[in-house]
Symmetry: C2
Subunit: 309 residues, 2 copies
């Protein structure tokens, strides 16, 4: 091979050019990232190092005027949190185009599973029933549990969370939830629930163990907490296949019904700054008044003709 | 300077090493980005090329049990959308620690402004008043308009949007809103408002001009639309300094009150797929029932002692 004379200075210039290009690419990249908080940035690094367990969020949902609004708000959490997989379980005989469109538009098709199962008519809320008269989402959550027990690798640590479609969630909740240890159920406070500003576990003096709860409503329940208050390490679902939800239990006992198989109070893993941070709120969205719409419908018209609301 | 003999092969190796490093940096970057939809990715590229106008979102807010939950949901939109600047205007005599903490924790301090002004007692809703009896946010929105007219560069194109703290927003709304042209007010449909599934502008046959609205409630209003239905190019605020909100107008006329100075119906710029996509919903969050909390308070206790809910 022929030899050319190349000056070291030329090599130096070459190196500088490359460094500049490197810097530009790097800067370019930065600007395409979320402008979010540090705890999220740290999460992306962990995700890339495969140090983050996957979180399966189970969302039972049903058709109603505000459904798309609610699911849209949730989808934005999924855009931000890298290790979330969304299991949407519709209360219907078929998967709907509304949910499919939403997942596609949000770029979440690969990170979600669409399931559906119709609640038996006997257990379905009637239009004027108060919403606590019959347990909701039993069928749907059980289908999702069954899906997890069939489709997820039992040997790979991952986490299961029940994520209702009208609560308000901070993305930081999912950072905390990612710390759920294998073989454990983790727990944290929930705001605006049970007639209180916050329902929370009470910890022992060294803040490591749950010794009680501050709940005011039915405090005699073994687990007097909301569905949004805990997450489950997936190995427990395989170890205790009998852990499911049930129509046969009293009002307010669904959480206890599943948790009694999986954990004791003492084994609960307190998260969210030793249960001092509130990162989820049991908000509820008002039923929309559609008086004018009903008047339109009587004339055979509708305001959302050709639109998806 | 001394000359060394360097073989072209060595230079080639150097180039390859650099290319590998470049690739690694680039890959690394990708994984720290949002896993969101394509329209967001496209936005980040535009932001970096300085092709995106800034959007000033004005959010009047007031202390109530569900305030932090609502603002937390909104903050997640700001984490995703790169060109949003958040003007939070509290209805209070001082900025609160709650809002300050929220902005800090969300990494939004640099991309937000905290303002505050107390609504005069005569105009404040009483606890049992229905929420439409007095106009809300007049004082707060006017303060924000004043701030914009004082602090923003009139010669740089930017956009103003009134973003209530309990509506539901798709991030895609902000992609659309970014298309608002200088000198124009842009407009799109709003879901779940005015007794209808969707209130929307009616366009002419070539879908370029607004010729009417489908509103059922007070359709005689010059602009029978919700506050969430439009965005304003900032130059209009400087051109028409008299455009503000007012306590002196009838219920439902706040939108008309400001828009009548800025635009005609014909000048409105239809966005959101020629007003066929619904990207914002006028959801309302239920007042939280705090019966157990009130009982606690009578004993001088509270569930959120030492916690921020």
């Amino acid at each position: 091979m022929s030899e050319m004379r190349i000056r070291p200075r030329q090599v130096l210039i070459l190196i500088i050019v490359f460094l500049v290009v490197l810097l530009m690419v790097h800067r370019n990249c930065k600007s395409t990232c979320v402008t979010g908080p540090e705890y999220l940035q740290a999460m992306y690094v962990m995700q890339q190092n495969e140090e983050l367990p996957k979180i399966y969020a189970i969302t039972p949902t049903y058709a109603r005027p505000q459904q798309k609004a609610e699911l849209t708000r949730l989808s934005q959490i999924f855009m931000l949190v890298p290790n979330l997989h969304w299991i949407i379980v519709e209360d219907s005989n078929n998967s709907t185009q509304l949910v499919r469109n939403l997942l596609e538009k949000s770029g979440l098709t690969q990170r979600s599973s669409m399931l559906h199962i119709k609640t038996p008519a006997a257990f379905k809320l009637q239009n004027k029933d108060p919403n606590w008269i019959k347990p909701r989402g039993v069928e749907q959550r059980n289908l999702a549990l069954n899906w997890l027990r069939t489709n997820v690798d039992p040997d790979k640590h991952s986490i299961v969370y029940f994520m209702d479609d009208d609560n308000a969630y901070s993305v930081e909740l999912f950072v905390e939830m990612s710390k759920t240890k294998a073989g454990r159920v983790s727990i944290w406070p929930v705001g605006l629930v049970g007639g209180l500003m916050v329902e929370k576990p009470i910890l022992n003096t060294d803040q490591t163990q749950v010794i009680g709860f501050n709940s005011a409503w039915r405090p005699e329940r073994p687990f007097p907490i909301d569905m949004a208050a805990f997450a489950i390490s997936i190995d427990l679902l395989f170890k205790f296949p009998q852990a499911v939800f049930s129509y046969e239990v009293q009002r307010g006992y669904q959480e206890t019904e599943i948790l009694r198989h999986l954990t004791t109070r003492q084994q609960l893993q307190p998260l969210a700054n030793q249960c001092r941070d509130v990162l989820v709120w049991h908000t509820r969205t008002e039923k929309t008044k559609l008086t004018a719409e009903e008047a339109l419908n009587k004339q055979g018209k509708r305001s959302d003709d050709g639109l998806e609301v």
